[in-house]
């Protein structure tokens, strides 16, 4: 418990020459729950994609568990222990629910435990157990989100990053998803959660990072954030 689990140092990144993230520096301690908030289209998702290696850094470095990730491919970064549940429903549409989950345990380091992990995910999301032999494209939106998160859980890892788990879901389903997320906090997992709907995560988060226009405009503890009325008014709708 010395250095942080994840550290970003002056990270710049973008898509095809268009710069999106500017000079992002942050640290994520082991066992902490960090929420990244901010308006849509201002780089929250890009930040996660940078960390998991889906897009290259143009400057700076990402350090995970004291090792730089800069020149690693996405599949190598997962092996190091960073699990990314991407935005939307990036599932394998023509595979069964079971095969989708088993893909989460693709890495040799976890594939031996696949059955045990599958049982664990089924316990967390009983709906996925009921639908284990169903083709994933026939699932409802909420079930797909569960599948996507469940697949991330299969990979295990030391850092779990979830991108907008409530996006586009009915409120009752969002409640179910957040019950599960709240359990992650109780288990002291290291979590980075991107969420636009900040009110949902205020009581969960240990730290809040506010991103606007590709830059970190504020970071600190949630109660501290509430004292900054101008930030609350601008970004959290008063």
């Amino acid at each position: 418990m010395t250095g942080p689990l994840l550290e970003l140092v002056n990270v710049h990144a973008g898509y095809q020459g268009r710069s999106v993230l500017h000079n992002i520096s942050l640290t994520i301690p082991e066992g902490s729950f960090t929420t990244i908030i901010g308006p849509n289209g201002h780089g929250k998702t890009t930040l996660l994609r940078c960390i998991s290696g889906l897009i290259p850094l143009s400057e700076g470095d990402v350090i995970f568990d004291d090792a730089p990730l800069k020149n690693l491919r996405a599949d190598q970064i997962v092996e190091r222990g960073i699990v990314h549940v991407p935005q939307g429903d990036i599932i394998y549409p023509d595979m069964t629910v079971r095969d989708n989950l088993l893909m989460g345990a693709y890495l040799p380091s976890v594939s031996a435990d696949a059955d045990k992990l599958l049982g664990e995910v089924h316990r967390i999301f009983p709906r996925l157990a009921e639908r284990r032999n169903q083709i994933a494209s026939t699932l409802s939106g909420g079930e797909r989100r569960m599948l996507s998160i469940g697949r991330g859980l299969m990979t295990g890892g030391r850092l779990l990053m979830i991108d907008e788990p409530s996006l586009g879901l009915a409120p009752v389903v969002v409640d179910q998803i957040y019950e599960v997320v709240a359990d992650f906090k109780k288990q002291k997992r290291t979590i980075v959660l991107v969420e636009e709907n900040a009110s949902r995560v205020m009581e969960l988060a240990d730290a809040i990072i506010l991103i606007d226009n590709g830059q970190i405009v504020w970071q600190g503890a949630p109660d501290e954030l509430m004292t900054h009325t101008e930030i609350v008014e601008t970004y959290l709708g008063g």
Partner: protein, 292 residues
Amino acid sequence: MDTFVQILVSGLTLGAMYALSTIALSLVWGSLNMLNMAQGALLTIGGYISFAAITYLGFPLFLGLVTAAGTGVLLGLAMYFGIIRFMFEKDGFETNVIIATIGLAMMMENIVLKAFGAYPFQQPFAVDGGFRLLDVHIPYQNLVIIGVSVGMMVATAWLLGHTRLGRAIRATAQSREAALLNGVPVRRIFAQVLALSGLLAAVSGVMLSSITTLAPTMGYDPLLKAFIICVIAGLGNVAGALYAAFLLGMFEAGVQYFLGVRFGFPALLLLVIIALIWRPYGVFNRRKVARL
């Protein structure tokens, strides 16, 4: 009844050969979004390698087939490491790769022409003789073709459906990003898919040349037929391609029997036109392509 048996046997033989080269084409499209125009040339080289290994090196027949298959694997890998690796992450890959593989096909075809000449050699991988079934003469070679092709298809289906590599190939085809995030080394998967498709193409080249003759341009016809089958089944739909291959093989054999050999191909084209008007996404109506 004789007529039926006759059409059935030649239809199954044609279908089996078509199915092999179609699977190869469909696999590569499904996982890489890559139309491999060099598929026909791979098939040609497969045929010639088996010929050269058996005739010049005195290999036993079976070993000739294995040598051809091995060459197919190497050519598939060479294609990935020499060309595709530099292209697939760039914009316009789907169009560029068509041009690149057409060029590659021409090169390979001319190398074959230079090495072997245009003389129509006989494929030595062939079993003589046959038997009679209800007054119809059935050459053993047809059974060999059907047997080898079906065996390869079953093996491919087993690989895709029941192995860790197969699951990773399907995952990569269905969502490249999700596969990466699950730790699948996507580039290695691409190389493996091209190797597998090279193997299937080379074997289908040996089969095809065993009932026709070897020629440097022999790959075009099966490539075209593989395209037709893919169009009918929906590109990237491997299971659909299998049904379509056998169906079209039967259809072609029937047309050839009743109307004459020269009507076989035009009839296929007519069928494709009708199929595309009726079901633009393939007769199995799978709007989303690239699914293995």
